[in-house]
């Protein structure tokens, strides 16, 4: 220890401290396997040699599950038929094989719940000391989160023979009164925790094991062999110590390095943490981003694939982030990366059904409903009988018009509108069965209901494990079933009463979050590259191995600062600390580099999100004179730009179109404006009649806001009060009508933003009432509203008629001033009708108003309306001063004729199929933007005809 370091320790209050009684070093027979070949193969050979075909009474422990499986395979392959296989366990399972617990061990969920009880029982002062603000947090989620944190912390200490009581004195120096009081509070919670478990006849597994060792409840009837177990926790060491000499450790190292291991075959950290690793610089690659690491590995594999079959290669994933990039590259090469991590349960379909159901049951809102019915496993079960309409489409359509909060008893809207969504919801409720109920129940009942739901959704046909999807599905269902079973088994006393369905589901899903479904075994026809996590790599037996993410923080993991156990404290307590982890990983690196002909390490410079990464410091465990060279390798190269000249031009695609264009034999008055703004927009909207759908809105879009306003104004135009000169009367009517219509359309409690929009509309209508009253007072009368000739009116262009269609918002008449055609506008700014219709240079940009006159001809004839009508807008705009009757000043018949000829021009172009110009329109909706090529590096080419 450097003087500075010692000083520092004094400064931070690190006084020499004796960790709880160090575990006795077990007397174990050590066998050195060497590392000139993969340790597992050597171990299998040794075992078979030693025991011949009878390994039946042997208990073999390995560091991880994957090594356990692999040793099983190697033994089976090496043994003669009829041999007696040993019992293979992981190091973590070993203690439970050897110890007999007095009471059943509490599962994870039970422990979390017990901690929750224990924390809740603390005096407020203690609880606040552990987590500020926790006394005020009554919500289940916050409390479970805290309980989980404490459970994890306890689970870190207990296997090492420590508990919170031990930390009160050991966990802090004299200067850390705050730390000490925290540990003391935790120790008080711990006492309750134990009581709570004991009351349910359960025990914390680690504490139960410790008690079993103390009481001598140890099975000594089998020989134990440890394979490659380089470090072990306190409890395991104590257990082994009790076995006397019935344990053998197979050490993956040559006998010359015996000094690096203790009597139990564990690493001496001091020996390993300073050793050089046999890393040849050529075998170390430094790349920029995760995708570059994947490219590098892909290239390495390409070289190896000439010599090795896929199954002879292992990829080590020290950094998970690289995994997806590798998956893609291997898939592109026709191979599979078999990631030992398997498929996370959270990504499997049945988990997602339950997760979506839980969220739906909790909030019962429309977005949750929309997510749930989009689950492809539920959709067919809730679709209407002949599955005519996709449930997603049913909801989208309904959402567009009614913006519902969520499913309710009375779906707003006309019966025809609501039938689809109502029935969909009913079928969903039926499918969810008991879970859909809103009453609380015991966990057991929810467990049963959850099984039933999974049974209904997935039970129709048996699953074939040979089909990958079904295998994963079966695996996921099995895992969920186990979780459900554990849930049902949680003693009622820990749950603290009955729960709602979503709370029970949340508990279930919570405990399964980290679970996964094992990857599919290798298939004969498919080249498969194994991918393993770092911890499994040392024992792997592939002749070729490459490690991705050989970076500091991953290899080794290190702690600098911690909420409970900073590294210095870990060291003091004898917990695994940075030094121990470094030693372990130096050893692992040494083994994996030594034990095979081909090995490579790949280091990244940056994480996916751009965070800078540094190489594993193990890469610098090399002779001092090599270090500079290695550092140079890691430093980014001084890049030189590539020459800018670029030969290949990228293809330019034409604007998307269909080969067959639907015939256009009618055009609405508004569509002319579309064409004049953008012929392509006209093509998409008016010729192909494309729709967009989206259910993210939480308020009316401008179109639907306008429609709603129109509906209110139509009702006004048809009402008794339409010609009233009294603003109050009109205002009352409009306000009442708006409320009635809103209730019919959006229900009793519309979305908050919709309710506000309604208020805003009423605010605007108040002003409208005023201007309308003035108009009525001047003698104008409403003649017709929402008027529409049934088949449109014919419009002759070049001897061929096209039908002009449309609906006129309102036609007014006046005894002296003639008649007027009016269009309601609800856009924010009150548009000027003349400027909207024509550009400054007089060219027509919008033909709606002039064409209305054409449209109104039948009505004019019918009612004897003569002369040139006034045309204009009634702007129901944002600002009060913009709410007005805005009539075009002085259009003469000649102007109308001019407009008709512009319209005829449009018709001709439409007939010629001239659609493929973008014009000046800039769409905002994402799909339309894409069609218009907005933001593309290569904009689509305009031109051509349909």
């Amino acid at each position: 220890m450097s003087p500075r370091k010692r000083e520092a320790d004094a400064a931070t209050g690190m006084l020499p401290f004796d960790a709880p009684a160090a575990p006795p070093t077990p007397r174990v027979r050590r066998v050195f396997l060497g590392w000139d070949r993969p340790p597992l193969a050597a171990a299998a050979e040794w075992l078979l040699r030693e025991r011949e075909a009878d390994l039946g009474e042997l208990l073999i422990a390995l560091p991880g599950g994957r090594a356990r499986r692999r040793l099983g395979e190697l033994l089976a392959r090496g043994a003669t038929a009829g041999w007696r296989p040993p019992r293979l366990v992981t190091q973590g399972e070993l203690v439970d094989e050897l110890l007999q617990l007095e009471r059943p061990a509490a599962g994870r969920l039970a422990r979390t719940l017990a901690w929750r009880h224990a924390l809740e029982a603390l005096p407020a002062r203690d609880l606040e000391r552990i987590a500020r603000g926790a006394t005020e947090r009554r919500d289940t989620e916050a409390r479970l989160r805290l309980a989980d944190t404490v459970r994890t912390l306890h689970g870190l200490l207990a296997p090492e023979g420590l508990d919170f009581d031990a930390l009160v004195d050991a966990g802090s120096g004299p200067e850390q009164e705050d730390e000490r009081s925290r540990w003391a509070a935790l120790a008080r919670a711990q006492a309750t925790y134990r009581e709570v478990l004991a009351r349910e006849d359960l025990v914390d597994p680690h504490e139960g094991r410790r008690a079993a060792i103390d009481a001598g409840r140890i099975r000594r009837d089998r020989d134990v062999v440890l394979v490659g177990v380089a470090d072990m926790n306190h409890l395991l060491a104590r257990t082994l110590a009790e076995l006397d000499e019935r344990a053998t450790a197979l050490v993956a190292a040559p006998a010359e390095l015996a000094d690096g291991f203790d009597a139990a075959g564990r690493l001496f950290p001091a020996f390993w943490s300073t050793r050089d690793v046999p890393l040849d610089v050529e075998r170390w690659h430094v790349e920029e981003k995760p995708s570059d690491q994947a490219d590098r590995i892909s290239t390495l594999l390409a070289g190896w694939s000439e010599r090795y079959a896929a199954e002879e290669i292992t990829i080590g994933l020290a950094d998970d982030e690289v995994a997806p990039y590798l998956e893609r590259r291997l898939r592109a090469a026709g191979a599979r990366m078999r990631n030992a991590a398997g498929t996370p349960l959270v990504r499997t379909r049945p988990y997602r059904v339950l997760a979506a159901a839980a969220r739906f049951l909790e909030r019962r809102g429309f977005p949750e409903l929309a997510t749930l019915v989009r689950h492809p496993d539920l959709a067919p079960l809730v679709a209407d009988e002949d599955a005519k309409r996709d449930p997603a489409e049913v909801l989208d359509r309904y959402h567009e018009e009614h913006l519902p909060h969520g499913p309710s008893e009375d779906w707003p809207g006309a019966p025809a509108d609501t039938r689809g969504v109502r029935e969909l919801h009913e079928r969903l409720v039926a499918l969810l069965g008991a879970l859909a109920g809103k009453r609380k129940a015991e966990l057991g009942a929810w467990a049963e209901a959850t099984r039933e739901l999974l049974g209904t959704v997935y039970g129709a046909a048996p699953l074939d494990p040979e089909v990958e999807d079904e295998r994963v599905l079966a695996g996921a269902i099995t895992r969920l079933a186990e979780g459900i079973e554990e849930l049902a088994a949680v003693p009622a006393g820990l749950v603290g009463g009955k729960l709602l369905a979503h709370e029970a589901l949340a508990l279930l899903l919570r405990q399964l979050r980290g679970a996964s479904v094992a990857p599919a075994p290798a298939r004969p026809e498919e080249p498969t590259v194994e991918a393993l996590g770092w911890l499994e790599l040392a024992l792997d037996d592939a002749p070729a191995l490459v490690v991705a993410g050989f970076n500091e923080g991953r290899v080794p993991e290190s702690v600098q600062g911690d909420a409970f156990l900073p590294d210095a404290l870990r060291t003091k307590l004898g917990l695994p600390d940075n030094d121990a982890r470094l030693a372990r990983d130096v050893y692992a690196t040494t083994v994996l580099l030594s034990a095979r002909p081909d090995a490579a390490l790949v280091t990244g410079r940056r994480a996916r999100d751009g965070d800078p990464l540094v190489p594993s410091r193990i890469a610098f465990h090399a002779p001092e004179d090599e270090v500079a060279e290695r550092v140079r390798r890691f430093l980014p190269p001084e890049t030189r730009p590539e020459p800018a000249r670029d030969e290949g031009a990228d293809p330019v695609a034409p604007l998307p179109r269909l080969r067959e264009t639907p015939r256009v034999d009618r055009m609405s008055v508004t569509s002319f404006g579309d064409y004049l703004t953008s012929p392509y927009l006209f093509y998409l909207r008016r010729v192909l009649r494309l729709r967009t759908r989206d259910d993210s809105a939480r308020e009316l879009d401008p179109l639907r806001f306008g429609n709603f306003g129109h509906a209110v104004l139509q009702a006004f135009g048809e009402s008794e009060v339409r010609d009233s000169p009294l603003a109050d009367v009109i205002e009352d009517f409009l306000s009442q009508k708006a409320d009635d219509l809103a209730r019919a359309t959006f229900g009793k409690t519309p979305l908050p933003a919709v309710a506000l929009q309604l208020e805003q509309l009423k605010y605007r209508l108040r002003r409208f009432a005023q201007v309308q009253a003035w108009r009525a007072a001047k003698g104008w009368r409403v003649q017709a509203v929402e008027w529409r000739p049934d088949e449109g009116v014919p419009f002759d262009v070049d001897g061929e008629a096209i039908r002009i269609t449309g609906r006129i918002d309102r036609i007014d008449v006046h005894p002296d001033e003639g008649w007027a055609i009016l269009d309601y506008k609800t856009s924010e700014a009150g548009a000027d009708p003349a400027k909207t219709a024509r550009g400054r240079d007089g060219t027509w940009r919008n033909l709606q108003l002039p064409l209305y006159r054409l449209l109104a001809e039948p009505l004019a004839r019918q009612h004897g309306l003569e002369g040139t009508p006034q045309v204009g807008y009634v702007t129901i705009a944002r600002e009060a001063e913009d709410i007005a009757f805005k009539l075009v000043d002085g259009w003469t018949d000649a102007d109308f004729e001019d407009a008709y000829s512009a319209a005829a021009d449009v018709v001709r172009k439409v007939r010629r199929g001239e659609f493929f110009e973008l014009g000046g329109y800039v769409p905002s909706e994402p799909v339309l933007r894409a069609l218009f090529g907005e933001g593309l590096l290569h904009r689509p080419a305009e031109g051509g005809v349909a």
Binding site: G72, A81, R132, R145, S172, D178, D295, S298, A302, E311, P324, E327, R328, L330, R331, Y351, A355, T371, R374, G455, G459, L463, P465, E470, A474, I477, E482, A522, T528, Q560, A563, R606, R608, D609, G610, P615, F620, D625, A628, L635, P636, E642, R645, D646, P656, L658, D694, E699, F705, A753, E759, Q760, Y763, R764, E828, A880, P926, V927, L931, L937
Partner: protein, 1056 residues
Amino acid sequence: MSASPHRLILASAGTGKTYQLSGRFLALLFAGVEPERILATTFTRKAAGEILDRVLRRLVDASAGAGALRALNQQLEAEGVAPVDAARCTELLAELVRGLHRFRIRTLDAFFVHLARVFALELALPPEWRILDEDEDKVLRRDSISDALARAERDEVIELLRALQKSGASKAIERTLLATVDEGRSAFLDSHAAAWDRVSAPDGLDDERLAQALEDLETMELPRTRGGKGPEAKTWIRARDELIEAVRAETWVQMVDKGILKKILEGETTYSSQDITQHHMDVLLPLLAHARHEILSEVQRQNAATLAWLDRFEAAYAERKDLDGGLVFDDLPRALAPLDGVPLAASGFDLWFRLDGRVDHLLLDEFQDTAPSQWRVLEPLAEEIVSDGTGERSFFCVGDVKQSIYAWRSGEPRLLAEMPERFRHLPDATELSQSWRSSQVVLSTVDLVFQRIGDNAAFEGQRSYRDAARKWQEDYRPHIAARELPGAAWLLEARPPHDDEDPDVPTLELAAERAAAIASEAPHATIAVLLRRNAHVARMIYLLRQRGLRASSEGGNPLLDSAAVLHALSALHLADHPGDTSAAFHVCTSPLAAILGVGERDALAPAALSRRLRDDLARLGFGELLGTLLPAVHAAEGYGAWDRKRFAQLVDLGYAFDRREELRADAFLAFVRDTPVEDPSSTQVKVMTTHAAKGLEFDAVILPELDLRFLLRDFSVLRRRPVAAKELTGVSCSRSHAVCELDPDELAPMRHEEDVRAVREALCLLYVGLTRAAHRLDIIVRHRKQPRIPGTYAGVLRDALGNGPATEGGVLWHHPESCEAWWPPPPQGEPPAPEDEEPDRLPRFRKPTHPRALPRRSPSAEEGGALLAVEDLLRPRRAGGFTRGTLIHRWLEEVEWLEDFGAGDDELSALGHGIERDEAARREALTAFRAALAGEELQALLTRARQAGADEELEVWRERGFSEIVPDPDGGETLWTGSFDRVVLRRRGGELTGAEVLDYKTDRVAAAGVEARAAFYAPQLAGYRRVLARMTGLAEEAVAATLVFLEPGVVRRLPR
């Protein structure tokens, strides 16, 4: 160490800021300081990475001796550290890289994240919290708005909306409220409620007096023309009528914004060259006072409503984030140093204990970008260090006020300026103005622009702008080139735009032409086109490509710039929305249609395609689904190299997104839209915004987007912060200059401060843009018809450099010392090969021969056949029957032959203790066990005498484990594992003649149900038979397989 260990450095662009910082870092290390005792912070992750790179690179270089070592020693000497030799460098290097985990070089954000993690519970943050992605945060904000709305009284929000829209009634509720949050939240977090209540309105007139004032106005005497003899002045008549109209319409702002009242406000005494008399004042002042009252009341209401809304939103937002366990970066300073509370670092917690060691040396880089809220977290640490008298701890801070372009992220350059005041112990600031980057031509161009910026005509008529520019000029020092480098600089005018053409197009085109010319004369030079806004980046790249230049963007853009990506996104949108025919049309007319197996028919009826995609998504996830399209994208003629590259990046994003448990495609689309993805190629030409160029340098820089106002948009919030390190003392919604002048005590200074801030930042941006160039600057402005200097960047440059008229070639100005051969010397060696556009090199594997991870089977899992019934998977394992079965199996294990079986009940019960702890349950099972053994069929089966034939020796295996690799019919292999309940081997004369495997079944089956169960178990038994045959070497026919149903006491032998 030198006299004071602390240092404050003001470093102009290119003057070697990182060099200074790395020098200090090395000095500390050489002085024996442990790396974990040094905390160095900066702002971008890239910069953080570069600091460590620089420290290591200098050591590597110095360890080779020579120049680098000399330079290092010079700097060490300046820092008061004894010189070192190459060997010492090597030694230190080795020590450092073996302890890379000990470095604390971080972004400020990362440092805060670290602190907030370690102290999460003390800070009342959710344990295990995480930083939310941008798109997640967007959703959360929208949700929070809904929540806040649902909780607010309707009238309250209506009031807010009216206030925000100045009495209008907008229908875009969510957008309006979101904008309020986006713009107001940082001010909200950085102020007390009182700060929002600074604006107060003087009293106005009551209705009666207002009516009177209006009447007075109507009868006000107006000045007459012709020396009082002519008619009333027309301008006055119009002005009066407008006033009358404004009072009636209550349009108060218009009232003071023009006409006579405006003149009065500005202190003028005449209007339209006629005196404003006392009579006029008597009539007008009451009206002015009333207008002031109305306007300021309205501002006041808006401020109060905004504050109330932000408060409500913040509560809902905090709840949502808590539920999610997520935070955004902005939350951290607030948690670590709350406005109303003690900063964590000063709260008495032993910070260093939990952080594993005390920080003794603080190195702050890019300090001008620090926000006051961030500084409040750091300040106690800095304070502790600066006031430490031992000389063992040091504070080092470097920045450049001229490069503070992050005010929109609350960066406060005044913190740097005020540093000497704050810490008296600091020595005077060192100013660095010798540039190691740029040629003198570039630097003197910069000088020409900024040395007289205070008098630049572009700020004509804008008092606060002018003030900001003057302040800039005051702090500006001329730049000197440290090295003699060739250089050139031009100010160019683009051609006039055609009718209707976007006026930016000619400047962008000219930029592309200049880039092409530069690339051909200096193929080794790096070139950057710096833009003001992101919007033009893709277009600029396109224009360059048209000229045969490959360009890439720095910092990255979302993937929406590739058609192939957009096609895929439309497909995903369609998956979520089967009724979206426009998405379907987009997909079905794209090259993807072929691989998806759809055609034009599907464009208008896409439900089936939608369903299929949704199903694939649930099955494969986003990454894999998109991955399956990748080969088609490579093969499609409609896609080019760009599409291929971007699509591959989309697939990678898909895999990354799959970590979220999100089923809806919409969420992925939002993620793609909000996630910038870098185009990684190191092309000669880069296109980026000036913001993204910070910290970079290029041989040639082209600036084509300069005809923009200094403020891209008006700010919506005005802020006042008298002390840089302290909270805001005044906040208000923004108003025009004229309105702000109505409140000279509060609003006017706020507006002024905001203007100054904004213009200062605008100038910084220009400074950063110009100083990126090492050798050559091409500054491009739009064509102008009039010579008047506009209030834009272009105006600044025209006034400073030359306003034309332009030469034929469009040159407005060029630096007189520009040289023809302006480029840097070409590097030695081969130029790198152009980037490989081939798909990645992929391995080609042989067919597998000896797969590892063999398929495993276990006979016990074969019940019911190879197919798995979901019902069985769901059945509880441990329910009732399970432990009972285990018990009975355990006891049966004790039975070799019944003749020898004499275990008593107590003994058996004890054996079962570990399986079933309930005594009564054991007893019950034991009774059943005894009853089963008593049955005739079992008696026959388990009695040796009744089993052994003549001369037959029987061997019994009980609970015998097995693990055998058995060849499959399809050529593969399967590892069979499991254990037999009981096996009887028959030998005759020592030779094995037959075997029987027995499997005990404890399910309670009625006698009638036995056949069905036997059929169900048949596949399992077949498995046992197969394995046993393999183990014994017997033919399968010689192996019998037998089911023993204990409860009905029935034995069934499987047919051979």
